[in-house]
Symmetry: C2
Subunit: 236 residues, 2 copies
DNA sequence: TGTACATCAGTGAACGCGCGTTCACTGATGTAC
DNA sequence: TGTACATCAGTGAACGCGCGTTCACTGATGTAC
């Protein structure tokens, strides 16, 4: 999108952003399933029907929030990796930490992305690209490490180096991880699941009365995830 | 609760069960946030006000569903472990598989337990015990393995054997895992996160266009999780 | 075994509320000549 | 620069709906004597 020329176009962009901002505030108060067009309009002091000039339906507004949130957490991961130094393990760990920080700061948006699907809502294809940003950052670090010969060989009871692939061909192509026989791609996927899973447990309350030091546990969990693919990460 | 004596008591138990059953059906159709007392009553052909003879509020009904679901998945895990043989690793793996099967068969109940918290709903203390059943089954297997000297020493870049504990004292007591200096309890926690996290990704749609063989990936992920605590599991 | 009273299940109407979306309309902004 | 028309933003009323919960009431079931 180029620079908005006319005053009308500028106003439209501004108010679209304001609607999304108000919707995000709503989200933080009542959660995604209870997000309502009328409440958003009320917060902005406009008629509820006016919102329909900017989003054709409640679902379209939700989709915009989802895309924005995926882009925000994706950008956080990318920035974190960039600031993580030259070492692939360091970049990977920095990305993971950045995602957690973002999630703790935006718990409701995190829920929107990784919690239970909103019933009746079907995610359109536009969300696929933004949703891939975080896993691609993680995969890039593993791919770099593999290319530099920095990955330890798999340890533990696996015997899983054979058989048909478990991931789709598209993923194999997209991630850039050499698809050897040690199921590196599949194991790298586990790092993504560990990252999001650990954050989900923290935010969804499953660590209540269980984990006392959340940040410390996160570090340990990420160290474990890295170990599963043989990625060496910096010690704190 | 003993045998219900009077006809009234028997009817009460039966109808309470029928209300919960109808609510579970509702859950599967519209999801937890949209579950409504009126719809449940409609499905049973009774006045909506009649439901209040059995559950004082919508929240109380939701709590009953949550407790039932925790008990169901807990029982599945326990049964799985029991059928898993003498080997702790085998019991652990069998429990994990049982949990996944239950989750795939009851996706909405799984979401209710492990998805985003229902906004405005606050889980009462009654849910704590049932919620602990699954992790306790997993912990028991690890504890058995540790007691029998079957755990491999931790591998990979950890350096995490020192510093204050990350879990609460209650957990340390409850799980029965020897609390050595290698953070075994904390690492065992990761198995629980990996189990639920992997299932969540599968059920919440994050493996769409990513993982082609869900069951196969689950096996690999669980093997990885077991490896992280040095638990040897049977090869398929 | 029979009666009098208490308890409980279930009804149907009502309260007060919020929702998504549509529609005819007003007034301001933009565009073509 | 000025005018005529088209486009767009925003309004307010309305449609039709469902919700949780309360309440006075009826009729059946249980209990005490």
């Amino acid at each position: 999108m180029g620079t908005p020329g006319t005053a009308r176009a500028r106003a439209r962009a501004e108010i679209t952003a304001a609607v999304k901002e108000a919707a995000r505030a709503q989200l933080a108060q009542v959660g995604a399933p209870a997000l309502s067009v009328r409440a958003v309009a009320r917060e902005l002091g406009m008629a509820s029907s006016a919102v329909y000039r900017y989003f054709a339906s409640r679902d379209e507004l939700l989709t915009a929030l989802i895309v924005d949130a995926y882009d925000a957490v994706g950008a956080a991961a990318e920035d974190g990796a960039r600031a993580g130094g030259d070492d692939p393990g360091g970049r990977w760990l920095a990305a993971c930490r950045a995602v957690r920080i973002w999630a703790v700061d935006h718990p409701h948006e995190f829920s929107l992305l990784y919690g239970s699907p909103v019933p009746g809502y079907r995610a359109p294809a536009d969300t696929i690209g933004p949703a891939a940003r975080v896993p691609l950052v993680l995969a890039a670090a593993v791919a770099d490490a593999a290319r530099l010969g920095l990955l330890h060989p798999p340890t533990g009871a696996l015997g899983l180096g054979s058989g048909p692939r478990l991931v789709t061909p598209e993923v194999l192509e997209a991630v850039g991880i050499p698809a050897g026989d040690d199921r590196l791609v599949e194991r790298a996927l586990g790092m993504w699941v560990a990252l999001i899973g650990t954050i989900s447990f923290e935010l969804f309350g499953h660590f209540e009365n269980v984990v006392s030091d959340r940040a410390g546990y996160f570090e340990l969990a990420m160290a474990g995830a890295a170990g599963a693919v043989g990625l060496e990460i910096p010690v704190p």
